[in-house]
């Protein structure tokens, strides 16, 4: 089980409190699809993904980005229980969605970049280190039920 210090928990929850989940989620997913274009393989039914502009403006991308980041919020609320929190989602991504868990790591790194861009100096090195740990642990929990 992951151990979080009081300081780490504080860094996570205080930053999360300031995150606009809809905007950050949309941006994170758009960046994933733009920077790592093979990730578009899961979204053939999303319509126009032909350019960065198209991707950023795509309403399905925005909606799905919001969905994904909202789910990330569950991690923030359940830091001491991540494997259980993501158990069903892990099975879903393996059995139905067939998503390579590497995508969770890619998205985690993208999220760090989005947070850094939004919060600038407030996203201190200590803050980043804690969030790097968090995205890593979330990716691990989401991959946990793969078989």
């Amino acid at each position: 089980m992951v151990h979080w210090s009081a300081e780490e928990k504080q860094l996570i929850t205080s930053l999360w409190g300031k995150v606009n989940v809809e905007e950050c989620g949309a941006e994170a997913l758009a960046r994933l699809l733009i920077v790592y274009p093979w990730t578009q393989r899961f979204f053939d039914n999303f319509g126009n993904l032909s350019s960065p502009t198209a991707i950023i403006g795509n309403p399905k991308v925005r909606a799905h980005g919001k969905k994904v980041l909202t789910s990330f919020g569950e991690a923030v609320k359940n830091l001491d229980n991540l494997k259980a929190t993501y158990s069903k989602l892990s099975e879903l991504h393996c059995e139905k969605l067939h998503v390579d868990p590497e995508n969770f790591r890619l998205l985690g790194d993208i999220l760090i970049i989005v947070l850094a861009a939004h919060f600038a100096k407030d996203f201190t090195p200590a803050c980043q280190a804690t969030w790097q740990k968090l995205v890593g642990v979330v990716a691990h929990a989401l991959a946990y039920k793969y078989h």
Binding site: M1, W38, C94, D100, E102, N103, V137, H140, A141, Y146
Partner: protein, 109 residues
Amino acid sequence: MTLTQAEKAAVIAIWAKVATQADAIGAESLERLFCSYPQTKTYFPHFDLSQGSAQLRGHGSKVMNAIGEAVKHIDDIRGALAKLSELHAYILRVDPVNFKVSEHRNFQG
């Protein structure tokens, strides 16, 4: 990163022996891949992955043939695999992490 002349000679010599059992080795390699790294199965939801399945054998042969081509063009492996690289990047869209020979994942928790 390039192979030395000695390394190329070693590869060619070993491959000559491997080629005689290419199909069996190919199928077993895939079987071991899916066993040790179950996340790689996400790229084959349309396959029967049970041991000895025709699809596994067929795909194993395909992979071994491609490696054989690379060995045949050992002085220009990049050129020999260029088309396959494009296929995996743009059509199959396989995450390149899956091409790494060794994986060192630093998991926490």
